[in-house]
């Protein structure tokens, strides 16, 4: 493997423009925060496996915005059915980017199924998302992510990465994260009006 998740995250962070991001708990969230915090980042602190579902719902609710789900291989493996739902609903504004380090990095590096040959991009294609590919270098990631941002999705990018050791963490205040995110979306988190 030729890129760390930290380096890959910094590259993607630089390409986001005004994209909305939902990021998986643990190291993927820490790396995104370290690469540069934004109000448009929804950092999860639990609900492992639900980033693809959350990003799908957000993409369907806000077709006017591009939505990036930053998932992990271990997390996505908990909720593979979500790929079939994405394939069925086909949100053109959704990119699911999977950091595949072949391990549960946040809990000590236990191997996941992708260390034993499980191919998540092939799974995405088989479940009905034709725009799904695996990348293994910073250059290929940049090309794939730029292409995904400039053409109709949904797209799945599986980026093979080496584990990195994030030194900082996002805010622990979940409600602050939600309210800041909603304000950035133009929604009033404190309003009772529906």
């Amino acid at each position: 493997m030729t890129m760390t998740r930290e380096a890959a995250t910094r590259l993607v962070r630089g390409l986001l423009a005004d994209d909305l991001v939902v990021v998986s708990l643990g190291h993927p969230a820490y790396d995104l925060f370290a690469a540069g915090d934004r109000a448009e980042h929804f950092y999860t602190w639990g609900s492992m496996g639900l980033v693809s579902s959350l990003a799908l719902g957000l993409a369907m609710a806000r077709p006017d915005r591009r939505v990036v789900g930053l998932d992990g291989d271990g997390a996505l493996l908990m909720n593979l059915g979500s790929l079939a739902t994405i394939a069925t609903t086909k949100p053109a504004n959704l990119i699911l980017l999977v950091w595949d380090n072949e391990a549960y990095g946040t809990t000590g590096g236990q191997k996941t199924a992708t260390a034993h040959g499980c191919d998540l991009a092939a799974a995405a294609r088989a479940l009905g998302i034709p725009r799904a590919a695996t990348v293994r270098s910073i250059d290929d990631l940049e090309s794939a992510f730029t292409a995904a941002r400039t053409s109709p999705g949904p797209s799945v990018i599986v980026a093979k990465v080496d584990e990195s050791c994030p030194g900082v963490k996002p805010p622990l205040d979940c409600v602050f994260i939600k309210q800041r995110f909603m304000a950035a979306l133009g929604s009033d988190a404190t309003s009772n009006e529906r």
Binding site: S47, L50, V175, K178, A189
Partner: protein, 104 residues
């Protein structure tokens, strides 16, 4: 919308996303495992629904009958958005299941 069995599958997402981030969601849960149930596998989760919701601090109301269903759903929805938490509306099996025993 989900069945009581689906609530079991959804628990960590409810707890660590919806409750922790104070995200209001109207849950409509059709019950299994309550009186009239024929499938023993549905009973343990069905009986756990209310204690589990209580343990998570998720308020719930049970629909009495078709006449009050719409009002109950409105009340629970209003509750969810006013307290910024999920809230649940439970549909007893007797209101949703066919009367003939032995059918799902």
């Amino acid at each position: 919308m989900m069945q009581s069995s689906g609530l079991g599958n959804a628990l960590n997402g409810l707890a660590s996303l919806l409750v922790a981030y104070q995200i209001p969601v109207l849950l409509v849960i059709s019950m299994r495992g309550d009186p009239g149930e024929w499938n023993a596998a549905q009973v343990p989760m069905g009986r756990a629904v209310r204690p589990v919701l209580d343990a998570l601090g998720i308020q719930h109301l049970t629909v009495d009958g078709p006449e009050t269903a719409a009002e109950t759903v409105r009340l629970v929805s209003s509750l969810a958005f006013s307290v910024q938490l999920p809230a649940a509306c439970l549909l007893p099996r007797r209101l949703t299941a066919p009367t003939t025993a032995g059918r799902p």
